[in-house]
């Protein structure tokens, strides 16, 4: 699959690209983490997070494909940064001195934010929702897919139906949060 095709699929909310990126890049990431005092499980976790970061950066146009850029290189750079962060955390925990390797990238990995109680209630409410509501909320608010494309992907009659469904799902989510979150 070509890089251009992967970007197109991500922007249309199609997850086919996930499998491809995961299967074809995981072995080299595992290799890197293994040689840098990590386990296979840690490698998988780092790579899953890296794909999420990449996914979000594509959606927010923070990653733009040029003649000189390759998705696999970008993904590897994200993994290196995530793993360096993890090693730093481990060193802090064991009071060891950790020397940062020279950072060869400009990709900034945002610090993990701890969710507030209300934000956690939102997550719990979404997890309880049906698949179609969950999908439409993810596609519209996070993947920023157009309502016309959402209608096509989800087999809805047209854009207006998708719009109404998105609105109803959002209201249902709001209601659930208001009911389950107490100040």
């Amino acid at each position: 699959m070509e890089d251009k095709e992967i970007i197109r699929l991500i922007k249309e909310g199609d997850e086919q690209a996930l499998n491809y990126m995961y299967i074809y890049n995981l072995p080299s990431i595992k290799n890197y983490i293994r040689t840098n005092s990590g386990s296979d499980m840690e490698a998988e976790d780092v790579f899953q997070e890296a794909i999420y970061v990449f996914w979000r950066n594509v959606i927010q146009d923070k990653f733009v494909l040029t003649e000189n850029s390759k998705i696999s290189t970008y993904l590897t750079q994200i993994c290196h940064n995530l793993w360096n962060k993890e090693l730093r955390k481990k060193a802090r925990f064991t009071n060891e001195e950790y020397i940062d390797p020279i950072d060869d990238t400009e990709i900034i990995i945002e610090e993990e934010k701890v969710l507030t109680k209300r934000q956690q209630v939102v997550v719990d409410c979404i997890l309880k929702m049906g698949e179609s509501c969950k999908n439409i909320l993810h596609l519209f608010y996070i993947d920023r897919v157009s309502l016309a494309k959402i209608a096509e992907n989800m087999g809805l009659k047209n854009e207006d139906v998708a719009k109404t469904k998105r609105y109803k799902c959002f209201l249902r989510l709001e209601e659930c949060v208001r009911q389950n979150y107490k100040y």
């Binding site: 995961y22 995981l26 997070e49 969710l115 956690q120 997550v123 979404i126 608010y141």
Partner: protein, 116 residues
């Protein structure tokens, strides 16, 4: 545009410069509006987090071994190459045979004469 829609467009970064300055005034002047904005912001953060968890879950379920790709080789190719190779061998031998034969006869005659 009602408040809900205004807040949604604000949080998704879709407001024009003019709308942006309007909403900023409203945030300062109206505490109820400000609380509604914070509520919707939390909802979007929650949707984002659930999307992150969903993507990671999907990735965890992908079998990480690369698929074995079977090459579909046309068996006729082997047959064609076999025939071509046989013809080449036959032609080569038929050209070289008389020369080899002559060389062997000369050699055997020499050998014969030596023995004699």
């Amino acid at each position: 545009m009602d408040n809900k829609e205004l807040i949604e467009r604000y949080l998704m970064g879709k407001l024009s410069f003019h709308e942006l300055s309007e909403i900023e005034k409203k945030i300062k002047a109206d505490p109820i509006f400000y609380e509604e904005l914070n509520f919707q912001r939390d909802i979007l953060i929650g949707i984002n987090e659930s999307r992150r968890l969903q993507l990671k879950e999907k990735l965890r379920n992908i079998k990480s071994e690369p698929k074995i790709v079977r090459l579909h080789i046309n068996k006729n190719i082997f047959l064609r190459y076999g025939i071509a190779a046989s013809i080449t061998i036959i032609v080569t031998l038929s050209v070289l045979y008389p020369k080899i034969n002559d060389a062997l006869i000369i050699k055997s005659k020499k050998g014969y004469s030596i023995l004699k």
